[in-house]
Symmetry: D2
Subunit: 456 residues, 4 copies
C-alpha cells in the first residue's frame, strides 16, 4: 500500500494517489493530470477511483479529465446546488475498495455544503483509520474558511465545528491529509509543515483549542478572507467539468514584431522576477512573476484576455503557462522570445520603475511631502497587525477595482512586506496611466530592520 | 518544514530528508547519496546534519560520503564496540536544531546496542513529536530482529521491549518513520504499507499486543532470521566508512570476445528476468535478476569476485551495478552487450533450463521417480507453514555452502514460491556441475492453485 | 541555422528539423510529434513549415498532426493518385523561406511518383546547397526501391535514374539527408553510417557506379523486396491523415485474470527479448520483441486486433506501445503486469520452446531424421547468399499466409541468422497449433562458426 | 557508424563522439565529460580513444579526466613547447581504428604549432574521407586566428595557409567538423550555421577565396583579436591536465547573512539577466549573466577569487557554476538563496542602475552636457564599423585594467550593441567606486532604429 502526496506550488494545493495490489485512487486531482497517471504507472497500478473532497473554487478540477483518460469513476459529496455532471454522489458511510485499501466516506460540511472526508483503512489490519483526507475541513494548524455563504455565516461555521468533532473521533493515530498546505487562500493560519496527525492537531491546532461551539463560531464569523473574482468562474466550471490542458504547455516564441502585433488586442504579462520588471519592462505590461500567478492572476486578469508573456526563457514561459492554465487562463498568444535588451535594441519603447529604500521613505514622510502617497498594498490583516504611520492602504488584489480612489496626479511609492507584491501593484498603477510611481524595495521588512517606528 | 522519504528498492531501506528554513538533515543515507543532495537543493536547503539510527549491517552507509560532500556532521548512538570513525557520539536527550525543526535523541537499543531513535518536533508548535525516526527498533507492523548477539539473546530482546515502551510514550500522534519497509531482511512481519503512527502501531502491531515483557522476549528468541555472510563485512565497513559509488554507475559494454576474456577470472552474473535465464544463458552464469540482487548477492557472491553482467540492455546493467554497489560489490568488468541470440550466433556455447509444471511434478512424485529430488529452496519459515510431501529443503541462500549434501547424479527439480528464487537456485546447481536440473515454474503457487495436497 | 536529425529506431526512419531566426521547418515527421515541438522550442523557434518528401507507406505520417498542433502548413509533391488532404502541392523550383534558410524543391520521382527532394541553402552565403533532403530517392550507400508500380517497373526505375542525376548535379558539397538509414525496409544495401555527402555517394555508392541508365534499370527490376501487408493501409491513411498518438503511450497494467479476460477476444503480443519467450510464455502468444516490432508487426498483426502485451515492466510495455502506434496498431487492452513466474504461480498454463545448437542440428541432418524439418525463415536474398543443405525456406513475414504448406505432424526446428527472427517464427507455428517446434539458437551464425558446410 | 556533435553553449565549443561496433572516440572533450560517457553508453560503445586537435586556450580540456574515467588513450599533435603530460604524441599519417572507422592524422599547424586535423574514413567504403575534424584550423565561414605567436606573425599565418590547402585536398565531399561554432573568441567571422563540407567552404568561405598565400597572410596579420587574461592559465593547465568538475555542479544556498559573511573575502557575481541587475543588485556585485560567463568571466574574475553567486534560483546558479567551472573558476562559496526583494527586506543595502533611451542620449549629446561621458564598451572592430559621434570607447573586457583612464567625477552613460555588455561594464564601474552611472538600454540598435546619425 502506498500514499503519495502531490503538491502544486503557488496554489499550495495538495492531491494524493493511494494504491494497493494494482489499483489506485486519486483524491482531488488538478487539471494537469499526467503526474497521477505516471505515479500510478510507476507503481504498476491503474486508476480506478477519483474523489473530490469538495467542489474546488480556486482551481480547475482534473477529475473529469483524469476520468476520461483512465476510465475511472468520479465520486463527489451530496451537493444541494445541483449535481456535478461528471461525478456520482457519495454519502456518509459509503465504502470503496482499492486493492486492500478501504476508503470510507465521512460527510464533513462547513467549508462547503458538499465537503466530504475520506478515511483510509488497511484491510490487513484492524478498523483504525491509517489516514484521513480532510479536504478543506481540517488543515495542518488551521481549519477551512466558512465565508462562502455569507447569509448563513453562523450556521456553516457551526456545521464545520460539528464536522471537526467527527474528524477528531477518527482517533489520534490517523495521519491528516488536507487539500491545501501553507500559502493557500483557503485558510490563513496554516502551519509551514507538511505532516500531521489527528492527535497532533487535536492538541496543537489553535482552532481546535476553543472552549466551545459558540466560541468557535464567533471566531470564524469574525475572519476576513479574500475572494478573488475568478472563484465564481471556477465554481461554475467545476460543476460541468473543465477541458484538458496542453501537455506540456509550450507557449510559442514570438519576435518583438509578432509580440507587438499580438499586443494590439492582448495583455502583456511579465512573469520574470520582480527586479527584472523594475529594471526594464514593456510599457503597459502587468508584473506577475511565476510564483505569484496562483495568488494574483485571478484578481488581475480576465478570462477572455489574450495574453503575451514576457519571460526570461522558454522554460519560465512554460511554467507560467502551466500555472495560468491550472486556474483557467488558457488564451496565450505566445511569449516574447528576445530579452528586454534585445527588445530595446529594436528601438521599441520600454519603461522602468525607480526604487527607493527605507531611509528615503522616512525622509519623505518626515518632510510631509505634498502630492505624495505611500501606498501599502498588503492585506487588511497584515496592515492591522503592523503598519507605517501615514501610509494609505489598498489591497493589491483590489487595486484595479479601486483605482479611482487614487489620484493620478500624486506620486505613489508602493510598498508591501518586501517589495514583491508592491511590484505587481506598481504595474497595475502604470497600466492605469499613473506616471509617477516608485517602489519601496524591502518595504515593511526593511522598515523594521532599520528601526523605524511601526504602528502595531 | 518538509519530510521526504527515500525508498531504496530491493533492500526495502528507508532514509529521510527533513528540512526547514534553508537547513536540512538526512537520516540513514544510503551509499549513492546524490538523491539527498538533489532533494535538499530543490528545497533551497543545505544539509547540515546526518544521523545514523544504528550501524547498518545490510548496506554501505552513505553518511561519511555525504558528510564529505556537504560538510555536514554525522551523529551516531553510543557504541560499545568502538567509535564510528566518521561520526560524533550522541546520547539520550541530545537536541539538534535544523531550521525550526528540533531533533531529539532517544536511545532505543535492542536491535543493536547503539540504536537510537529521533523525535521530530516543530518549534512553532508545542512539544509533541510530529514524527519519530525509529530505525530498526519499530517497523510498521513489526519490530526489529534481536538475534545479532546470540549469547545475550534474552537480554537484548528485553532491551528492545523497553525501547518500544519508550517509543510508545512519545504519543499516539507521532508518525512512525522506520529504516525499513516490507521486504527487508531486518524484520519479517512488516506491513505492506508505507504509513503509520505510534497510535496505529500501539493498537495494531502484533508485537505490541503481547501480554508482558517475558512473553515478548520468548517470542523474539524463538524467531529465526537469515544472516547472509556479507553482513559481517558491512558492519566492519560501516565502522570506518565506505567509499563513494561511481555516479551514475555505467558498466562498460563488452563484446562476446571481451566477456569471454573477462570470464577467465570472473563470474557471469545474469541480471535478466528469470524466464530469460531459463530460455538461454551463458554456461556457468549465476541467475540474479535485478530485483533479487539485494536479497541474494550477499549470499552468492564474494567481495573480491570480478563480475561480468549479462543484461538485456545498458539500463538494466546500470541498475544492477547500482544495486550491487549499494551492498559493496564494485568489481564490475562490464556487461555482455550482445544479446544471448547474438552470443550464440558467434558459435559460443549456451545453456538452458527445462521447465516443468505442477502436473508433471505430481506425476513424478506419484511414480516415486528414482534418483530424482524435488528441491524446495524457500526459507525454513515458509516450508514450515506449507510444503509438498516428498520435497527436500535447502534454503537458496545456503545452497552453495550445503552443496555437498546433494548428489550430482540425481536429477533435481527446483521449486520455491513461484519459480523466481528457484531459478537462482538452479543456476547455483548448474555452476556446481549438476547437469540434470529442471525448474518447477509456478512452484508452490501453481501447486496450490491446481488443488494438489499441501502439508501445513 | 541548425539542422537536427531525429532517428526513429526500428523503422530506421529519419526526420529533420531545420531552423533559423525563430522559424523552423520539419521534414518527414513521424506520428509521435512531441520531439519536433520540443526541439524547436529549445532553439526558440516556432514551426512554420512541414514537408513530406513522399507519401510514406511504412509509417503513419505526423505531418497533419504537427500541423494542427503548430499551425504550420504542410507541403507535398504532385500526386497523380489524388491530393493529400492535409497538404498543399509543391512543385519543382518552389522556394520556402525559414528564417535565413531557403528550401528549394526538386521533383525526384522513381521510388514514388510524388517524391520530392529539398535543397537547403544558406542565404548568408552563395547559392550552393548546404544539404539536400533526398527522401527515399538517395540513401547513404543505396537508392530507393522501385517496385511499388510493378506494371511500370522499367519506367519508374528509369525515372529514379533521372532523379539521381538531378541530385548529383546539386554538387559534391551537399550533405545528404535521406528519409531512412540502415535497417529500413525501404532499401536493402544502406550503409551502416549516418553521414554522407553527394560527393561521397557519387564516388562510393554502388548504385551510382553503374555504366548507364539501362544497366541501372536492369539492376533495379531484378531486386526483390518485402511488401508487408500493412503498407497498403499506411498509404491510404497518409492520404487523409492519421490521428495523434497517446502521449506518452502508457498501456495500463492488467492482472493475470484481467489479461486472461482480455485475451478471450485479443492477441497476446510478447515484447520481451527472445530468450525470455523461449524460457516461458503465454500459450498462444506471439513473440515480437520491442526491437522487431517495426519490422514484423505489419506482417503478423491485423489492424483491428485487440492486443495484450506481455512485457518485463511498464517501460518496456510503453516503448512497445509507442512503436506499435507509429505503424498504426493502437488497440491495446493493456499489458500483463505480473511476471511469467507470477503468472505461472496462479496456476495458469504456460509454454516453452526447446532450444538446440548447431551440433544437434548437424546430427539430425546427418541422421536424415524423418518427419523433421529444418525451417529457415530468413529472406530469400539471405538464403540465396548462403544456406544449409536440407533446410526448407519460408520467410518469417509470410509464414502465417503459407502455413498450409507445412505439415503440423512434422517436428520443426526453426532457424534464421541468429535465432531472433526464428523465435518470432516459432511463435507463429505454435499459434497455428504446431506442437513439435524447437529453436536453433545461434542459427546461421553458429553454423558458420562451427565450421559446418554452407551452400553459397 | 555514428557521429554526434556536442555543442557547449557560451564557449561555442564543439566536440564530437564517433563510434562503430562497440568502440568510440571523442574529439576535443570539455571538462564536464559525463555527456560523452552517456552518449557512448547509449550506443553500446566504450570509449577507447580521445583526441585533442590542439592545446585549448579557452577552456579546460576534459581529455585527461575522460581518460581516467574510461581507460582510453589520449592523442595530441607534436608540441615543441613540451609534451602534454597525459597524452601520446601523434603525427602526420598515423591511423587509429575505432570499430570499422579509421581516423587518420593530418598535421595542420598555424592556429597553434601543435594543431592536427583528423580524417574520418569508413572502412566499408573507399578511401574518401567522410568527414574531417578541423580543430581551430578551418571553421564554417572562417579560419583560425593566428595571433598567438606575435613574433612569428607572418610565419604562422603562412603555415595556416598551407594547412588549409592540405584540408582542401581532402575533397569536396568531406563534412567539416570544427572545434568552434559561431560566437567563439577563436575566430570572428564564423557562419551562423552548424553544417558544412570542404566543398561548400572551398567555394563560399571568404578566407578561402583569397588570391594567393601572401594576400592571405596580409589579411591574417591585420586581424585584431581579444586575448582574455585567463587564456594563459588555460594553456598552462592543459599541459598538465585539469581536475574533474563536481557533477552536477550544485552551489549551496546561502542565507542573506551567510552571503554577507562570505562576501567579506569574496566577490558577488550576479548571474541573473541584465534587467534584473539594473532593477536591483547587491552593492559591489559584478553583473555576469549566465550567457555571458564564457565571454567575460575570463576578463573580469581572478582564478583565486571566492565567488558568491546571485541567481534567480538553484537551476540558474547550477548552470552558472557549470559554465564557470569549464573555464576554471571553481571557488564557489554558494549562491544567495533569497531573492533581491527578500534581501532588501532584511534591511540590507541594495543598488540600482538608472536606464536611459536613445532620445535622452541624443539630447545630452546635443546639449554638450559637461562632465558626462557616453562610454561605448563594444569591441574595437564594432566601433570601427559604426559608432556615435562623441562616444568614448573602452572595450568591456579591458575596462578594469583601464579604469584609471576614466574620471570618477564624471557621469557615465554606458552603451554597447543592445545594453547587455553595457550592463556588465556598468557593474565594473560601480565596483570601482563610480557613482554616477547609467545605462543606455537598446544602445546602438535603438540608436539606429531611431534614425539618429551613425558614423561608419
Amino acid at each position: 500500500m502506498f500514499l503519495e502526496k502531490i503538491k502544486t506550488e503557488g496554489l499550495a494545493h495538495l492531491s494524493y494517489v493511494v494504491g494497493s495490489d494494482g489499483e489506485a485512487a486519486v483524491i482531488d486531482p488538478r487539471r494537469d493530470v499526467e503526474v497521477y497517471v505516471e505515479l500510478a504507472r510507476a507503481r504498476g497500478c491503474r486508476i480506478t477511483r477519483i474523489f473530490e473532497t469538495h467542489r474546488n473554487e480556486d482551481l480547475i478540477s482534473g477529475a473529469p479529465i483524469l476520468a476520461t483518460l483512465t476510465g475511472a469513476s468520479v465520486h463527489h459529496g451530496p451537493n444541494a446546488a445541483g449535481d456535478v455532471a461528471y461525478a456520482q454522489t457519495t454519502r456518509e458511510g459509503d465504502e470503496f475498495a482499492v486493492g486492500r485499501i478501504r476508503l470510507r466516506v465521512l460527510e464533513t460540511p462547513g467549508h462547503t455544503d458538499d465537503s466530504i472526508s475520506l478515511l483510509l483503512e488497511d484491510t490487513d489490519f484492524g478498523a483504525d483509520a491509517v489516514a484521513v483526507f480532510t479536504g478543506d475541513a481540517l488543515f495542518i494548524g488551521d481549519v477551512g474558511r466558512t465565508d462562502f455563504y455569507p447569509e448563513r455565516a453562523r450556521e456553516v461555521a457551526g456545521r464545520l465545528y460539528d464536522s471537526l468533532q467527527k474528524l477528531l473521533a477518527v482517533g489520534d493515530q490517523a495521519v491528516v491529509c488536507p487539500a491545501h498546505g501553507a500559502g493557500s487562500v483557503c485558510g490563513s493560519g496554516m502551519a509551514d509543515r507538511e505532516l500531521s496527525t489527528v492527535g497532533f492537531e487535536r492538541r496543537n491546532n489553535p482552532r481546535l483549542q476553543m472552549a466551545d461551539r459558540d466560541t468557535f463560531i464567533d471566531a470564524k464569523v469574525a475572519e476576513q478572507h479574500d475572494y478573488p473574482p475568478y472563484f465564481e468562474r471556477m465554481e461554475q466550471l467545476n460543476l460541468v467539468g473543465g477541458t484538458p490542458m496542453a501537455s506540456p504547455p509550450m507557449p510559442r516564441p514570438l519576435t518583438a514584431a509578432a509580440s507587438e502585433q499580438a499586443l494590439t488586442r492582448g495583455v502583456a504579462v511579465d512573469v520574470r522576477p520582480a527586479s527584472a520588471y523594475l529594471g526594464a519592462h514593456l510599457p503597459g505590461s502587468l508584473s506577475l512573476p511565476v510564483d505569484m500567478i496562483a495568488a494574483f492572476a485571478g484578481w488581475l486578469l480576465e478570462a477572455d484576455d489574450d495574453l503575451v508573456l514576457v519571460a526570461d526563457d522558454a522554460d519560465q514561459a512554460g511554467e507560467a503557462a502551466r500555472r495560468l492554465g491550472r486556474i483557467g487562463f488558457d488564451r496565450l498568444a505566445g511569449y516574447l522570445a528576445p530579452s528586454l535588451t534585445a527588445w530595446a535594441a529594436t528601438g521599441r519603447a520600454f519603461n522602468t520603475v525607480p526604487v527607493v529604500d527605507a531611509r528615503t521613505v522616512q525622509a519623505r514622510l518626515e518632510a510631509g511631502t505634498a502630492d505624495w502617497v505611500l501606498l501599502d498594498v498588503r492585506s487588511a490583516e497584515e496592515v492591522a497587525a503592523a503598519s507605517i504611520d501615514g501610509a494609505r492602504h489598498v489591497y493589491v488584489g483590489e487595486l484595479a477595482q479601486r483605482i479611482d480612489d487614487l489620484d493620478q496626479n500624486d506620486r505613489h511609492t508602493v510598498m508591501c512586506g518586501s517589495g514583491a507584491r508592491a511590484t505587481v501593484a506598481a504595474s497595475v498603477l502604470l497600466r492605469h496611466g499613473f506616471e509617477a510611481v516608485d517602489l519601496f524595495l524591502g518595504s515593511m521588512g526593511a522598515w523594521r530592520s532599520g528601526g523605524f517606528p511601526v504602528r502595531d
